[in-house]
């Protein structure tokens, strides 16, 4: 589907980061757990949607919660694994300029780009937390018949974006103190 999408295959061939510090090790463990749980969430979402077809046509039960539950599962899986993808620099960017830069300039560019990414993700995480707070206080519900509480997906989004911010920050610090793994 490329959709140009699978550029990820090329991008993820970047060398894996060597985990040196305790922060990195904790992050790696958290990311691993998140990936496992998120993978299972995806499969559950697929099963829930399949069940929805089955329920409607064979059991003649109205299907009101399946779509919403799948949305929560998939949105949660996506936001939570943002950090795990960032570890291997799996969020693709345009590499055209990178190729013509010297290694030194490129290292500086990488730090600046990471800092900018961090600022954006941290800002987004902060706004997600205020949204989560609002949803908890005001008791936001979805507008569907299922009336699911919205703090569930909001909290996954907030935690996921925070994890991602921490991950980028860890990569920046690693680069700055020269602990970055050499390819």
């Amino acid at each position: 589907m490329a959709h140009g999408i699978e550029i990820v295959e090329v991008a993820t061939s970047a060398p894996p980061v060597v985990y040196a510090g305790p922060v990195d090790r904790v992050l790696a463990a958290v990311n691993h757990a998140v990936v496992v749980v998120s993978s299972v969430a995806l499969v559950i979402a697929a099963a829930v949607l399949s069940y929805s077809v089955f329920a409607r046509y064979f059991l003649h039960v109205p299907t009101d919660w399946q779509d919403e539950l799948s949305v929560f599962l998939i949105v949660g899986a996506v936001f939570m694994s943002g950090a795990a993808v960032q570890v291997r620099r799996g969020h693709i960017g345009i590499e055209a300029v990178v190729a013509i830069m010297s290694t030194r300039v490129n290292a500086v560019r990488q730090v600046l780009v990471d800092l900018a990414s961090f600022l954006f993700c941290a800002f987004f995480a902060w706004k997600s937390f205020t949204l989560l707070h609002e949803a908890l206080v005001e008791g936001y519900h979805s507008t569907t018949t299922w009336e699911a509480p919205l703090w569930i997906p909001y909290s996954l989004m907030a935690v996921g974006m925070s994890l991602l911010s921490i991950q980028i920050l860890a990569q920046v610090t690693a680069a700055l103190v020269g602990r970055r793994a050499r390819p």
Partner: protein
């Protein structure tokens, strides 16, 4: 500040940040956020997270990871090789049958897996060595696979089309149907070219043989027995049935597109478990992890692209740009050509997902005003973006081929692909002249209702026709077969 200067600033900032190598998702999000802070009321900046969530929390968009899961499950099993082997056994008597079998295998596999590079590597890893063993030139073999792989984003379910349906606010089912006619057209053109090119290479080899006595594998007739024809069938048929079953569930109105995605993923996992006994957590882990990584990367880009176009439309940039294009009063075809050229150029830098979401609010209103059918345009735009997969500078499929067959020089691969790019351009022109190829099927199915008996009848006639043609070709080839 006027809308024009804000718009130029917005575009300029985007270019700058994108080319700094910042991940596309964060780049789009950061530019959008900065402009929100600078030009929009503070209250709207506060709702940025809610905004992204609400845009993303659509089950149509979120069916994308499930389609990827289905593709990864099928793509990482041996299904590709088996499918290719079977088609080869059944088609080897047609001139260029091996090449045609590769085109068909790519098309079928792409429809099941929905991924271009996955199709290239699954069919190509078996197909390219086989074609070269049989004397096909490296460039020709690579061209067939690279071009065949692109069918992945045209055949439903394609992620590009899901996004187009969302961005253009068109019916996804209708769009999927509209792509089927053009997909058949492309498959037929690719197959015809494969046969023609085979005959050319064959003639050249025979002339050389007669002149110098040099023997080429192209001249050796294929010998495959009836057993070969049936050996792999039990493994291939379930996948084909899965494919058609899921389609029927979708178009028969039994399932929504997102339910189809879930069903497809579950069935694909069950099939690879039962046929290739891939079921232990250790074997499933790479499939699931790859799916999750790709989906996450993609959904981040999608979410941030949506935020980006929201800001663009809030600041009236997209509307003004669209109005400006309309006010140019270009003739219909100049407008279409210009827009397609823009898509091609953007394709040099951006993945199709961001092209669609970022440009839709600007290019679709003028197209609509010029009287183009937006469903039809979705198909055209998809074919044009497909071409971007096989021509430089991005040409993702070329790199996949380079990976499978490192000994074919890149120049040969590119030259082998050129005729297929030309064929795709011809297809775009044909579809512009005869839009019915694309719009007839959705109109027939969605507007007049489907008479399933008629579908069965037409399918029956089609099969009979193909069989008859097959026998005729076989008969003709036998009579004109070169002496051994």
């Amino acid at each position: 500040m006027s809308v024009l200067s804000i718009g130029l600033l917005y575009g300029g900032a985007t270019l700058l940040v994108m080319f700094s190598g910042m991940p596309i998702a964060f780049a789009l999000g950061a530019v959008a956020t900065l402009f929100m802070i600078a030009f929009m009321p503070a209250a709207s900046v506060d709702t940025i997270a809610q905004n992204v969530y609400e845009e993303m929390a659509s089950i149509t968009l979120l069916s994308i990871p499930l389609f990827i899961l289905k593709g990864a499950a099928i793509g990482r099993s041996r299904a590709g090789q088996d499918l290719y082997g079977t088609l080869h056994a059944w088609m080897h008597r047609i001139p260029g049958g091996l090449g045609i079998a590769n085109v068909f295998a790519c098309a079928l596999f792409a429809a099941m897996a929905g991924s271009s590079p996955a199709t290239c590597s699954a069919i190509g890893s078996a197909g390219i060595p086989e074609m070269r063993k049989r004397g096909y030139s490296g460039g020709f073999a690579a061209g067939i696979i690279a071009a065949g792989g692109t069918l992945g984003i045209l055949l439903p379910p394609s992620i590009t089309m899901i996004l187009y349906a969302v961005a253009a606010e068109q019916s996804l089912g209708r769009l999927f149907l509209a792509a089927i006619g053009p997909a058949f057209l492309l498959v037929a053109m690719f197959a015809a070219y494969a046969a023609w090119q085979f005959l050319r290479e064959h003639r050249r080899a025979r002339a050389l043989h007669e002149r110098t006595g040099a023997f080429s594998e192209l001249l050796r007739p294929d010998e495959l027995t009836l057993r070969d024809k049936f050996a792999l069938l039990p493994r291939v048929l379930p996948f084909v049935i899965l494919l058609t079953g899921v389609m029927i569930a979708l178009y028969g109105g039994y399932a929504t597109p997102s339910e189809t995605a879930g069903l497809g993923a579950v069935l694909a996992l069950l099939l690879i478990a039962s046929i290739y006994s891939v079921w232990t957590p250790r074997e499933l882990e790479p499939i699931l992890t790859a799916t999750l990584r790709e989906s996450t990367m993609l959904m981040f880009i999608i979410g941030m692209s949506l935020l980006y176009s929201y800001v663009m439309s809030y600041l009236h940039i997209s509307q003004s740009a669209a109005q400006w294009i309309v006010s140019l009063e270009l003739s219909r075809w100049v407008l279409l050509a210009t827009i397609l050229l823009l898509v091609v150029v953007l394709g040099f830098f951006l993945p199709p997902v961001s092209i669609i979401l970022m440009t839709a609010p600007i290019i679709l209103p003028p197209l609509k005003a010029a009287g183009f059918d937006l469903i039809w345009f979705g198909v055209i735009m998809t074919i044009v973006m497909e071409m971007g997969l096989i021509h430089p500078p991005v040409g993702l499929n070329l790199f996949v081929i380079k990976n499978i067959a490192p000994d074919i020089p890149l120049a040969d691969v590119i030259w082998g692909v050129v005729p297929f790019v030309a064929l795709m351009i011809v297809a775009v022109v044909v579809l512009s002249l005869v839009p019915d190829i694309s719009t007839w099927l959705p109109h027939k199915v969605m507007d007049t209702g489907v008479d399933w008996m008629q579908v069965v009848r037409v399918t029956g006639y089609g099969c009979a026709l193909i069989l008859a043609a097959g026998f005729l070709i076989r008969f003709a080839v036998k009579r004109s077969a070169p002496a051994r």
